[in-house]
């Protein structure tokens, strides 16, 4: 049973991701943000629903498309925007940028740019949980394209043979950059790949945050109880291009329109109204609140200093030696 407060919180969360990313797009246009920037717009229900089923000290790891997960993990919008601006006050002091957000305080391990690369690391986080017998679990987010990468296979096999508490969440948005999943994957129903590892596989509508949450509440319970790893396929759609530079000619207009009708945010808004959880006014207030948060984030980023040149050699190692460069 998902409480009214929980629903309202999820709505706010999705809206925050959406609005903040709209600002990111705007700022990218103004060249305040550079590099590769991958928007999550359209997929907000997945990170929001899934992560809301976790405890604060569970481990989460994702990919370069990490804005939504960082924010769903309650990452600070100011440090988020400052990072994308490459400022000293960014969550990674400007070293990571959009693709490499990470947040130690919220147990978010990033933010990795190598497709599939985070998979064995996720299993390793699970290994730590099982090694210490704490009752933490791990949630690992990745795309449909990542499931064809070798380390994906290794990670699922490891997780299963060692019975690690890891939930693998595949955000199947049907494309890896411009490549249709049907061209890249021998099983296009990704959740069925779990059968290759004797692992339970589930499919959920990734455009419905409540369904995502319901399934994850269940799976989290089992995995935390020691039932071993599980694979979830959340079918969803990214509304923008793969990255800011993608014209996105490879998708049919009709397909895009169809999925836009399934926008998870208005959908939940309708539910909130129908169930009397929130009034039109309350939702408008929320809009306003979030606008303020976005303004504040952008302002904070703009006013923050660039990293000092001396920061270049910081963090290569945590322990220095005389012969290190500029030690």
């Amino acid at each position: 049973m998902i409480t009214a407060t929980a629903k309202l919180r999820m709505y706010r969360q999705m809206l925050l991701i959406r609005r903040l990313e709209e600002r990111v797009a705007e700022m990218y246009g103004e060249q305040a943000i550079g590099g590769f920037t991958h928007l999550y717009i359209g997929q907000e229900a997945v990170a929001t629903g899934a992560i809301s089923a976790l405890n604060h000290d569970d481990y989460v790891i994702g990919t370069y498309r990490d804005h939504g997960h960082f924010l769903a993990r309650e990452g600070d919008p100011k440090k988020f925007m400052a990072e994308l601006f490459g400022r000293e006050t960014g969550i990674c002091h400007g070293k990571g940028g959009s693709m490499h957000l990470a947040d130690m305080e919220n147990y978010f391990f990033g933010g990795t740019g190598i497709v599939g690369g985070s998979m064995p690391i996720a299993a390793g986080l699970g290994l730590a949980c099982s090694y210490r017998e704490d009752d933490r679990i791990v949630m690992s987010f990745f795309g449909d394209g990542a499931t064809n990468q070798g380390v994906w296979h290794e990670a699922l096999n490891f997780a299963k043979i060692w019975n690690l508490p890891v939930i693998f969440v595949c955000e199947n948005n049907f494309y890896g950059i411009g490549t249709d999943v049907r061209l890249s994957s021998s099983l296009t129903e990704v959740y069925k790949k779990a059968s290759g590892y004797g692992m339970p596989g589930y499919r959920v509508n990734g455009m419905d945050v409540l369904e995502v949450r319901k399934l994850c509440d269940d799976v989290v319970k089992h995995v935390r109880a020691g039932s071993g790893p599980a694979l979830i396929e959340a079918r969803c759609y990214r509304y923008q291009g793969h990255s800011m530079t993608d014209p996105g000619r490879y998708r049919a207009r009709a397909e895009e329109d169809l999925w836009r009708k399934r926008d998870p945010i208005p959908r939940l808004a309708r539910t909130l109204l129908e169930e009397g959880i929130a009034s039109e006014e309350r939702l408008q207030e929320l809009d306003a609140e979030i606008e303020e948060i976005c303004d504040a984030a952008v302002e904070f980023a703009q006013e923050s200093p660039m990293p000092s040149p001396s920061a270049l050699y910081d963090h290569v190692f945590s322990e220095r030696y005389p012969s290190d460069p500029h030690a």
């Binding site: 490879y250 050699y313 290569v316």
Partner: protein
């Protein structure tokens, strides 16, 4: 002569070779329908279809391995890896397999394979997308390393690489794709192992490749203002490496700076400096200096990234150190 972009030169090279030889085909991530992340295969699927321009899953080791198998069977695959950092994912296939099969099987099979991938930073893509690691592939024998700096060299060398019966790692640069240069109409080839003097000079030799050639030329301009005539020598291929050209030039100028975008520490520049002092110990008027990337993963923040990467100014400083 007409001027075209670096990426257009690459497209021409591939198209020409594909028209000449049905055994030549392309494979890689988003090279077909999408046209290539850096447009380097734009239009090729339209002309050659999905049999010869093959979109692949995201699986670099698989891409290289499949291309390797097809090459063993006599085809001439030209796989593209989206960046050199992703080539690291396929490192085992490239080093333990592609580069060794011909040798370890006593010459029984050839591996006519050309792996294309862009290295290089400068666009804030951060620590997992931007590195220049050609030095590892020059260290390991068995694979040719081609790394052109101009559209002209890119076309002529890519055609030669595709026709080469040995594996070639063909390294492009993200910042060079849109650079423009003269490229004659019609077919021409550039042999591997022949350096090119990009600017003649008498006071110092600057050895540079890939994007650093542009930085070296900028540096030479600045130095000319100071009355120092720098020769800019572009080896164009690092395996084979035209030692003859390097030794001859430095024997004449008696001074040398090597500029590379990869980490300077244990870079290719170290080998060049080491061999120069071995062979020209008494001819050198000053130590061979090296310019390269700072010994850090590339940071995202623009200023930090620029501080980590080598520039014309660094080359100028190095040259001034040994000429004044």
């Amino acid at each position: 002569m007409r001027e075209i972009r670096y990426y257009e030169a690459l497209i021409e090279a591939m198209a020409e070779e594909m028209r000449l030889d049905d055994d030549v085909f392309l494979m890689g991530e988003d090279i077909g329908l999408f046209g290539g992340t850096f447009r380097a295969t734009e239009g090729l699927m339209a002309e050659f279809g999905s049999r010869r321009v093959r979109d692949t899953p995201i699986a670099e080791a698989g891409i290289v391995g499949l291309a390797m198998g097809a090459a063993l069977a006599g085809l001439r695959p030209v796989p593209e890896l989206m960046t050199m950092n992703f080539a690291i994912v396929a490192m085992d296939q490239i080093i333990n397999h592609v580069a060794k099969m011909h040798y370890m099987f006593g010459g029984q099979f050839q591996v006519p394979l050309t792996i294309r991938a862009p290295g290089g930073g400068g666009t804030q893509k951060g620590a997992q997308h931007s590195h220049s690691i050609e030095s590892w592939f020059v260290n390991a024998p068995g694979i040719r390393v081609v790394i052109p700096s101009t559209p002209y060299d890119a076309k002529g060398l890519l055609k030669t690489s595709i026709r080469c019966n040995d594996p070639v790692l063909f390294i492009e640069h993200e910042m060079l794709y849109s650079s423009v240069g003269p490229v004659p109409e019609g077919e021409y080839l550039i042999p591997l192992g022949e350096a090119d003097v990009k600017r003649p000079g008498s006071d110092v030799t600057i050895v540079a490749w890939s994007k650093m050639v542009l930085e070296a030329l900028r540096a030479a301009e600045i130095l000319a203002g100071e009355g120092i005539e720098a020769e800019v020598l572009d080896p164009r291929t690092l395996d084979p490496l035209d030692w003859n050209a390097i030794m001859t030039s430095v024997a004449r100028t008696r001074r040398c700076v090597v500029a590379e975008e990869g980490w300077r520490n244990v870079g290719v520049g170290a080998e060049i400096a080491a061999r120069l002092q071995e062979q020209l110990f008494h001819e050198l008027d000053a130590p061979v200096l090296r310019v390269g990337a700072a010994n850090v993963p590339l940071p995202y923040s623009k200023d930090l990234e620029q501080a980590a990467l080598p520039h014309a100014e660094d080359i100028v400083q190095a040259v001034l150190k040994i000429t004044t």
